[in-house]
């Protein structure tokens, strides 16, 4: 079994010269299951690479433990952890051929020549590198180098694969195809994989589960859809999704016998969103207090004409639109927020015109601005 268990894992980089000590990872707990594809995602500098490098044994652990299977590996050398790692810049040995790059780890582990040849051959044919075994890395394209880096990892048949942004040096098209290949590889190798990226699309498409990190802490760990549909907090809501969820700051107010979301505290001209039964239940105890109303771009509908507008319609001004071909991102101004709506490509809206929106409130979320958490029943 090769699950990976991080318990209260911390990393503090010691002060160096003018730089003060810096805690890059702040006591995280994470259980990566056997044969799982776990994606660590988060903005640049949030501690993803540091976490991965601690799992690899390349970075000393300040506090907490890492276990691979049943064994705590805190003091195990990288080579004895039965892991392999693929780096962002591939880290191929420039003076060695593709064959030697892949064989290097096996040679050091004293495998027999025939065995090395068989394993490298197998990996090469898996990755379509058979004709390039005699080339040096310089004579390869970015995509090919990336495959060699993956090949070098798989010849060792490790229990756990670690990837640190392996696609970010590729062009957009290669990235999409390689993404699919790595996912396929995961299925055929039947190994545990931990994959670091700052790209939420990669996270959503590749991960069995996603671990979203921010500033050295874990924000949420769940399946891609759960993370998308039920973000645990404001950070996740704003990070996952492209364009991200619209987050409107305001208060819960009472209008007649109905609860409404009132943008901007009612101070300046703000919109009012009537809360449906579910949201009202969530907001019941918060009348008068601050709240964040979250709605995804695809859950905002444009109403064709003001006359047809139901009572719940919301006025807004069109700011600008970004046609993407299959859909259009429409940017709208309400009281003090800029919203984005995802609308069909046929929709045409001139800038600066007034329009009416409807929110699909059954898909909306409420967040507590103090704790940043999503409000649940």
């Amino acid at each position: 079994m090769s699950e990976v268990t991080l318990s209260n894992l911390s990393k503090t980089y010691p002060a160096a010269g003018k730089n003060p000590a810096f805690q890059a990872v702040k006591g995280i707990d994470l259980q990566i299951r056997d044969r799982e594809f776990m994606v660590l995602v988060g903005p640049s500098g949030c501690g993803k690479s540091t976490t991965l490098r601690m799992i690899a044994g390349l970075e000393e652990i300040t506090d907490g433990t890492i276990a691979i299977g049943e064994t705590v590996v805190n003091n195990t050398l990288p080579k004895d952890r039965d892991i392999a790692m693929v780096f962002q810049n591939y880290a191929l040995y420039p003076h060695m051929t593709v064959y030697d790059n892949m064989a290097f780890g096996l040679k050091l582990r004293k495998y027999k020549k025939d065995e090395i040849k068989a394993r490298v051959g197998e990996a090469a044919s898996m990755l379509g590198l058979q004709d390039m075994l005699d080339r040096k890395p310089k004579a390869l394209s970015g995509g090919q180098r990336q495959r060699v880096a993956v090949g070098r990892a798989i010849v060792r048949k490790p229990k756990v694969f670690l990837f640190d942004e392996p696609l970010s040096n590729l062009d957009a098209k290669m990235r999409v195809s390689t993404r699919a290949e790595i996912s396929k590889l995961h299925k055929s190798l039947d190994a545990t994989m931990i994959y670091v990226t700052h790209d939420q699309v990669e996270a959503m498409t590749m991960g069995d589960r996603i671990c979203i990190m921010n500033a050295g802490e874990i924000m949420q760990v769940d399946t891609p859809l759960a993370v998308y549909n039920e973000p645990a907090n404001l950070f996740v809501a704003g990070f996952i999704g492209s364009p991200p969820m619209n987050l409107l700051y305001g208060t819960v107010a009472k209008s007649g016998d109905q609860l409404v979301f009132q943008e901007n505290d009612g101070q300046t001209a703000g919109i009012q969103v009537p809360l449906d039964a579910r949201l009202s239940r969530l907001a019941q105890k918060r009348i008068g207090s601050e709240i964040v109303f979250g709605i995804r771009p695809e859950h905002i509908k444009m109403l064709s004409s003001p006359q047809a507008a139901p009572a719940a319609s919301i006025p807004a001004i069109v700011d600008n639109s970004e046609p993407m071909g299959s859909e259009t991102f429409l940017y709208l101004l309400t009281g003090s927020h800029k919203l984005v709506a995802r609308i069909p490509p046929t929709g045409r809206f001139e800038p600066d015109t007034a329009t009416q929106l409807a929110f699909e409130t059954e898909k909306a979320h409420l967040f507590d601005p103090q704790s940043q958490e999503r409000i649940t029943e």
Binding site: R53, A56, G57, L58, L77, P78, K79, I83, A84, M85, F87, Q88, N89, A91, Y93, P94, H95, F104, G105, L108, R109, D134, R135, K136, P137, K138, A139, R152
Partner: protein, 270 residues
């Protein structure tokens, strides 16, 4: 400008094949008779010293290349207390003109304890003087400085992930040096080796003050003795210079090829 540099070469070639009478009569005129026998005489006179110089330079260069790449690696990759201070001292060494330390250096080699009949205070014997060691040790120690600096800089600029990758692949620090750092440093090492070889081969001052046994004489020492031993004919003297340059030409031809090979490595298919 190029003429200013080239003229002495042409003069040397002319002087090496013309008899002294001819030279005095008309300096620039082509020789009436090419005196190949000058070369034969010259060879007999200097061949042993060329051998001495070439061996001294080769052995020194091989060892200093090895040692400077190893020290460069240690400085680049391994943390130990006082590292930067030691490195700074090494850097400072490069700034001190060799002529300043010539006399202390001489005394140090002469009075090296327990060597060449010396007692523990360095008295009573000749130390390293008049042995091949006085040249080898001096050149290896002195020549390392540039090599250490260049190798350290080069290795430090290699991506960290290369070393991380090798560690995960199972390489020890020594194996990383041998299989990754050393081969990647070869272009730098080739440059340092060529420069050192030329410097050592051409050195005059150090052998002059430390060597007087005839069988240990270097080329530079030997060739200056020609005029004092043979007053009339200058042809063989200049022929000696030409013969003496051959090892340098060989080193350049071989070394440059290696150097160019090193930097374009991997860009060529196959």
């Amino acid at each position: 400008m190029a003429m200013i540099t080239i003229a002495p070469f042409l003069m040397t070639i002319l002087l090496s094949v013309k008899s002294s009478d001819e030279v005095i009569h008309d300096f620039w005129a082509p020789p009436e008779e090419i005196r190949w026998d000058f070369f034969a005489q010259a060879l007999g006179f200097i061949q042993h010293s060329i051998f001495n110089s070439a061996i001294t330079a080769s052995v020194s260069v091989i060892l200093l290349a090895f040692l400077s790449s190893l020290s460069g690696y240690v400085f680049a990759r391994i943390q130990f207390p006082g590292k930067e201070l030691i490195y700074l001292l090494i850097l400072a060494l490069m700034m001190v003109p060799g002529i300043l330390t010539l006399i202390p250096m001489f005394l140090w080699y002469k009075q090296f304890p327990f060597v060449g009949g010396n007692d523990w205070l360095g008295q009573g014997g000749h130390g390293f003087l008049n042995t091949p060691w006085v040249l080898l040790v001096h050149y290896i120690a002195g020549g390392q400085v540039l090599g250490i600096i260049l190798c350290r800089t080069y290795i430090e600029n290699l991506p960290q992930s290369l070393f991380d990758s090798a560690r995960i692949d199972g390489a020890s620090e020594l194996q990383i040096y041998r299989s990754i750092a050393l081969p990647l440093c070869l272009p730098v090492i080739a440059t340092v080796s060529i420069l050192s070889f030329v410097g050592i081969y051409n050195d005059y001052m150090w052998p002059l003050i430390t060597i007087d046994a005839p069988n240990l004489q270097t080329f530079t020492l030997r060739v200056t003795q020609y005029s004092s031993e043979h007053a009339q004919e200058h042809g063989p003297e200049f022929a000696s210079y030409i013969i003496g340059s051959i090892p340098l030409i060989i080193v350049f031809a071989f070394g440059m090829k290696y150097y160019v090979n090193g930097i374009t490595k991997g860009s060529i298919k196959g």
